[in-house]
Amino acid sequence: MQYLSQRLASKPAREREGAPPAGTLAAQQRERLLDAAEDLIGERGCAGTSIEAIVKVAHVSSVTFYEHFADKEACFVAAFDRAVVETGVELREPGEEGGEADWPGRVRTALAALVATVAARPARARLCLVEAPGGGPALRVRYEATLDVAAAALRQGRLLDSAPRGLPDTVEEAAAGGIAWLLRQQLELDRANEVGELLPELTEIALGPYLDEAEPGARARADDV
C-alpha cells in the first residue's frame, strides 16, 4: 500500500543514501523533522506520534517527509542515531584528555555528561531510554547495539590492577542495563531534573565490579574517584 504523499515524493528516501550535505535546505528540513520527532516522542511516545504530527511541528509537507524517510520507524531510528552520536561526542572528549591511568575518573566524567544530557534533554532521553528498548524491531536493535558499545567501554575496567579474576562475561551488559534502567525510571517518574543525584550510584554500578572488595565497605571508594 502506498500513500499519495509517498507517490509524490520525487526522489527516493534520502536516508538510504545517508544524510544530505550540511547547510543545504534538505539538511535543515531533515534536522527539523528529527527535532519534531524527538519532541513528540518525548511527549507522547512512539506509538502516539504520527507522521502527520511530525510534519506539522516541523513545518514541512508530508511529501518532504517521504523524501527523507521511508516511513515513521525510519525517522525514529534516524532520531535515535543522531541522539546517540551527539551524546557520544560528549562522552568521548574527556577520555582523550585523561589517559589510561585515570580510567575510573573518565568513567565518572562520562557518566556525569550522560546524566547532564538526560537532565537537559528529557525528550531525547525518553526516545533513547524509554521508547527505543520497546519500540519497533529496528529501534530495539539500535538500542541493544548501543548497550553493547557502552558495555565494551566499561570492559576496559578488567585491565585495572584491582579487577578480580573470573568476572562473568555478562558483568558489563548487566551494568549498562542497570544504568539505563535507573535513568529510564527517573524519566518515567518525571524526575529527569533530579537524575544528577544518582551519579554516585551510577558510578558504583559501573566501577564496582573492578574494585577490590576484600573487606565490606570497600564499595564506598567508588564514590571517591
Partner: protein, 224 residues
C-alpha cells in the same frame, strides 16, 4: 476437557446435575472459562504482534471468542492486558517464593529464586515477553504496573533484614535492571531455551554488592 480448571463455584465434575442450559455448565464457569481463554488470547496476540500492534480483533481471533464476549469481560486492550499481567506476575512471584531452599540462608535462597524465575520464563517465551519485554513501552497503567512488579521482584532478592544502606532502593533497581536486561536481550534474540544458563551470572550479580566478589563467585558456582 480433561483438564478443566477448578473454578470456584463450579461443582466437581462428578456432582454435575442435569445441565441448566445447553452448555451443560454453570453460568459462572462458562464466564470464567471465557475470561481465561481471552486472557490466553491476549498473551498469544501480544507475544506475536507486540503490545502496540495488538488489536481486539487479534485477541479474539487468538482466543476464538466473539468480540461481543470480549467486551462483556473487559473494557478494552489495556484492561485485558492488565488482567493477564496480574496473573503472570502472581504466578512468577509465587514460583520464586515457593522455590526449594526458601528456608535456606539468603544466598541459597537468591539462587533458588532466580532459578525459579528463569525456569518460568524459559518454559513459556510468550508469557516471558508479556511479563518483561512488552510492558515498558506500553506506557500508562501498563508501564506503571510493570514498575511495581519489578520492585516486588527486586524485594524477593533483597537480604533480610533490609541492609542498613542509605539507598537500598536504588541498588534494588540497578540489580533488577541488570537482571531484566540480560533476560530481555536473550528473549529478543529468540534464545529463551538458553535462559537458564544465566543462573550463575545472575546469582553473582545479585550477591556481589552485599557479599563481595569472591564470596559471590563461590556461592554462584556451588560444588556439584
Amino acid at each position: 476437557m480433561s483438564e478443566t480448571p477448578q473454578i470456584a463455584g463450579a461443582p466437581a465434575s462428578g456432582e454435575v446435575r442435569l445441565p441448566p442450559g445447553r452448555h451443560g455448565l454453570p453460568r459462572t464457569y462458562v464466564a470464567e472459562n471465557q475470561r481465561e481463554r481471552l486472557l490466553n488470547g491476549v498473551v498469544e496476540a501480544v507475544a506475536e504482534h507486540g503490545y502496540e500492534a495488538t488489536t481486539i480483533a487479534r485477541i479474539v481471533a487468538a482466543a476464538k471468542i466473539s468480540r461481543r464476549t470480549f467486551y462483556e469481560h473487559f473494557e478494552g486492550k489495556e484492561d485485558s492486558f492488565l488482567a493477564a499481567y496480574e496473573m503472570i506476575d502472581a504466578h512468577v512471584r509465587e514460583s520464586m517464593l515457593a522455590a526449594p531452599g526458601a528456608s535456606e540462608p539468603w544466598p541459597d535462597r537468591v539462587r533458588a529464586r532466580l532459578d525459579a524465575l528463569l525456569d518460568v520464563l524459559a518454559r513459556d517465551p510468550a508469557v516471558a515477553r508479556c511479563y518483561l519485554v512488552e510492558p515498558p513501552a506500553a506506557g500508562g497503567e501498563v508501564a506503571a504496573r510493570y514498575r511495581d512488579a519489578m520492585q516486588l521482584l527486586a524485594e524477593t532478592l533483597r537480604p533480610e533484614p533490609d541492609p542498613p544502606d542509605r539507598n537500598v532502593e536504588v541498588r534494588d533497581q540497578a540489580l533488577i535492571g541488570g537482571v531484566a536486561t540480560l533476560i530481555v536481550r536473550r528473549l529478543n534474540a529468540g534464545a529463551a531455551d538458553r535462559l537458564r544458563e544465566l543462573l550463575p551470572d545472575l546469582t553473582e550479580l545479585v550477591l556481589a554488592p552485599y557479599l563481595g566478589r569472591k564470596e559471590a563467585q563461590r556461592l554462584a558456582h556451588p560444588e556439584p
